[in-house]
Amino acid sequence: MTIADTARLERLLATRGADPARWPAAEREALTAALAAARGSPAFERAGALDAALDALPRPAPAGDALLARLMTIPDRMARRGAVGRLLDRLRSAMTPRLVAGEAAAFSAAIVAGLWLGAGTTMVQAETLDLSPWLLGAPMEMFDEASP
């Protein structure tokens, strides 16, 4: 048994457990000798004990008829929901967290930009606004109520 075999065996015990049936077929065949030597070692016993504990978990029951019926009718139920429902489904599935975050960032940036531009504009009070230079230069017809 080589050092490389020992290392591979330890890796398998630590990742796939002590039952060679759970190992990749190629590894199982290649490490037959190493496995025989390792049986009874602390690493082998530790892996085997955990396997036994995991095997104590009950196996989930197969899908019942009611669930199978629900799964089988998904196409029909979705067809009944119609085009609007399908569009909503697509939109919902397209709304990834990243997309939503991007939209929120763009919206926030627009608000900040608006506030910044607004803050940079000089506020003018209507009472103090002097329009006389423009009014004096305007044509008289502008003040004629009869003009169209």
Binding site: D51, A56, P60, L67, I74, M78
Partner: protein, 196 residues
């Protein structure tokens, strides 16, 4: 409604259409191909969901959501990059992760939720049940990725390569998750035995 009969051909059976070919037909709106995939794989994906969530009703909901996605988004599956089962394990796991996150947001676990059943009983069945409760609790306390790695590789008997593809990580990263998960399980079970 009449109960569906389990007549789905196994993918390896002679003359059986490969999963990937069935998914291509599902993408074209073929409900017969969809039903074949349900009959072939509902049990295995339900088992993964139940082990991930530790609860049957939620597991059934997660599987239903996943098969709904199969029907509406089969076109997003690329048979050149993955096997159907690899892709669909990921879809099911994501549906379960969503539920686990919602559960964490809405409910805090009570103190001692992971303690083994301390009720007395000499019967071996009760001992076995207590052990299963302790293992279930130790599994539930693993980080999500470690738990999925153990469930795929130990219970679903998925190869390291396929499990790594399902989890979108390297084989080396998967093996690292498995080593840490198995060590954590051993430590927690040993600590529980010492307490008991």
């Amino acid at each position: 409604m009449k109960a569906p009969s389990r007549t789905g051909d196994r993918p390896g059976a002679a003359g059986a259409e490969r999963d990937e070919a069935l998914v291509a037909r599902v993408a074209d709106g073929n409900s017969i191909a969809y039903e074949q995939l349900v009959l072939r794989h509902a049990d295995r994906f339900l088992a993964l969901a139940e082990r991930l969530l530790g609860e049957r009703t939620e597991a059934e909901d997660a599987v239903q959501e996943a098969f709904g996605k199969l029907w509406t988004r089969a076109g997003s599956f690329d048979p050149d990059t993955a096997r159907f089962t690899t892709w669909f394990y990921r879809v099911v796991a994501n549906a379960c992760y969503d539920r686990l996150r919602r559960r964490r947001r809405t409910q805090a676990l009570p103190d001692g939720w992971d303690a083994a059943d301390e009720r007395p009983g000499a019967d071996e069945t009760i001992v076995g049940r207590q052990r299963a409760v302790a293992v279930r609790a130790a599994l539930d306390r693993l980080p999500e990725r470690q738990r999925l790695a153990v469930l795929l590789c130990y219970f679903e008997d998925v190869s390291n390569i396929e499990a790594a593809e399902t989890m979108e990580i390297s084989v080396k990263a998967l093996e690292s998750l498995l080593v840490r998960a198995r060590k954590a399980l051993r430590d927690r079970l040993a600590a529980g035995e010492e307490r008991g």
